[in-house]
Symmetry: C2
Subunit: 400 residues, 2 copies
């Protein structure tokens, strides 16, 4: 999805392997009649959750697969959004859901067999309550008055959604990157509700390097003169400059050196080769990053970027073992598969392997694969041909 | 220099191994009575160059060592700036020149033996003409009306400075990072003026990854609402936000993953451990980067950052061989030493080695060392204890 759109061929909605036209649903989650309690102490109400489902839930309700999305993802995993135009999500007119190659009839997560659920995380900007939602106490968007959220909160809210939909146990939970951390958190928090856990391009905690890039990305937003302490929703100019910079920088971390060399090298844009050099877009790689920045501000909210990256910073699976990852892993009952991508330097293979080793040491069944990759962290999104068969084999071999 | 100041012990000005109090000089370079011609076609006049010298020039003028500075460096290589206060360069009150550990009496570049020269590059903001200088045509600072400059221009201007100072040949040219590219360019452009060429943490050309980070850094500045197309000098608010973001991001690329893990890990600031989490500085690594960003805007000009990073983008030593680096290297007559730092991912060892190999293939004498490092690209500044002896041995063994 992130690798540009020009040459990509998408599965059209009328294809027999597409889930076709989709419509998101929204549900209000009420927890024992009280506001939804958050891990860091605050609470929030109301909480609306946007989610999508594909396939048919079996009468025994034993074929549910929960997909978890990453930082900039959403509940729209596969197919084509029927309401893209009316909801103003115009970028969805041009492409299907973010994991359309993975999920569909006959695809690796086969919707003829599995019922697939994905919901947008709390604090995001795709229909689930977040900083751009109206705060009922003020009638204005929350902005920075939105409480901090955590990966644990997301998973607990997903569990409430599963309760509401009558799903007691998932055949599998699966996600990449920050989605992989949610999958892991599911296996830790609800050991008896997860049969199989698939963690892609993800680690038990973000590295110092990852914290550093998140810090700079947030600073780009927070120091944008148009940020106005997060109250920019009714203003003409939004902190798009800061958000674009954050995204451009983050985007570099999703790729890898070799892949960038092959894809862009030091090539100049064709229209630059005869023009005098200046500070405009000259190199192909500049053009690519500028495109990514521009496209992102069309579809994402700066405040949501702050909340989600902070949740990313704070996650540490070892907290379930008082700082000891092996002890934490002893809680897990799911079979687990961990897949790293050899050229991923944001969630590096060595740190993915640390998770696999901790599971081993805790006496758990774990499959670990380091996939050869020259696309970096984005591998979980673009190397569908390699990661898909692993996901399918693991899913289908896991009996219950 | 970049690794923070708190625990650093500096050689005081009265130390026998310090060059002591220094005073920069400025010279106006006039080239055959005409404006200084630039590689990309424009020209500029007047051109003033700020430079410093340490040690004594021998009567035979055969002990001159030219030091070349990197992106954010300056002519103040060693010792303590006597005029720091009156010139408003207050950060120099707290620390000596950027390579003070390397240059001084009895140090690795021993000023009892060598006469050391360093000048600030064209386009920078430390006394040499740059975008913050007054354009004589308008009486206003140049801003973006300053012409684009290249590494080749810098080296040609340094040669004019050497001419003015009566230096025909350098015993050595030495620099790290963008300074290493200048050293290499010296050996290529003026083969008969360089006896020894020392290239540290530098490559024949910037990688795609480096181009990408520069592109995002410039975009942070160019899209800062306070940038005003480069005409911000008389405004109260300057594009400090964008410049700080550019510097924070770049700073990550100067470190390395392992070094950051050791130095910061995921540790929270002491004052954060009891306070509720928000988007302020929480992790030690955030605190460090914010400090770097703040400190940089006190001492650097946003326009200069644009000009110097673009020069960095455009440099390609292979241009001397019509795209063939080996052919280019055939021009060189200097003995050359190339030192890479094992954890450097901005100018990676493999690309430094490419230069050493090209020199070999061109039949030149080259010494190549990959220094074990856990501080990344900053190694050439902070691993003085390791790189210093190499520089000394190479310098002193090179007969003329």
């Amino acid at each position: 999805m992130r690798m540009g759109t020009s040459q990509r061929k998408y599965d059209p909605p009328d294809s027999p392997t597409s889930v076709g036209w989709t419509e998101a649903k929204t549900i209000r989650i009420v927890e024992e009649g009280r506001p939804f309690r958050l891990e860091l102490g605050k609470s929030i109400a109301p909480v609306d959750v946007e989610y999508e489902t594909y396939g048919e839930l079996s009468s025994a309700r034993d074929n549910a697969v929960l997909v978890l999305h990453a930082l900039s993802g959403d509940a729209h995993v596969a197919g084509w959004d029927r309401r893209a135009k009316e909801t103003g999500r115009l970028w969805r007119l041009r492409k299907p859901g973010w994991w359309d190659g993975m999920v569909g009839p006959g695809k690796f997560i086969d919707t003829r067999r599995w019922w697939v659920l994905c919901s947008n995380v709390l604090g995001s900007c795709y229909g689930t309550t977040g900083p751009s939602s109206i705060d009922p106490r003020t009638g204005q968007p929350y902005g920075l008055r939105f409480p901090l959220v955590t990966v644990g909160d997301w998973v607990r809210l997903q569990a409430r959604l599963a309760d509401a939909l009558g799903i007691r146990k998932f055949r599998a939970v699966v996600g990449g990157s920050l989605g992989g951390q949610q999958a892991l958190e599911w296996a830790l928090r609800y050991p008896d509700r997860v049969e199989n856990c698939i963690v892609l391009a993800s680690t038990p905690r973000l590295s110092t390097l990852g914290l550093a890039f998140n810090a700079v990305g947030r600073h780009a937003i927070l120091s944008d003169p148009n940020f106005h302490h997060g109250d920019y929703y009714d203003r003409e100019v939004k902190p798009d400059a800061g958000l674009a910079v954050a995204r451009m920088m983050a985007h570099i971390t999703y790729l890898c050196e070799h892949g960038m060399d092959v894809k862009f090298g030091r090539r100049l844009r064709p229209d630059r080769q005869s023009k005098p050099m200046d500070f405009g877009i000259a190199f192909e790689v500049e053009s690519y990053l500028h495109h990514q920045g521009r496209a992102f501000v069309e579809r994402f909210d700066a405040n949501s970027y702050l909340y989600i990256t902070r949740a990313m910073d704070l996650y540490d699976a070892a907290a379930w073992g008082r700082g000891d990852l092996v002890r934490a892993c002893r809680r897990i009952r799911a079979r687990t598969m961990v897949v790293s991508f050899s050229s991923d330097w944001l969630y590096p293979p060595a740190q993915c392997r640390e998770l696999a080793l901790a599971l081993c040491k805790a006496g758990k069944t774990v499959t670990y694969v380091d996939l050869p990759s020259n696309v970096g962290h984005d591998g979980f999104l673009v190397q569908i041909a390699e990661v898909g068969p692993l996901v399918r084999a693991f899913l289908e071999s896991g009996g219950s």
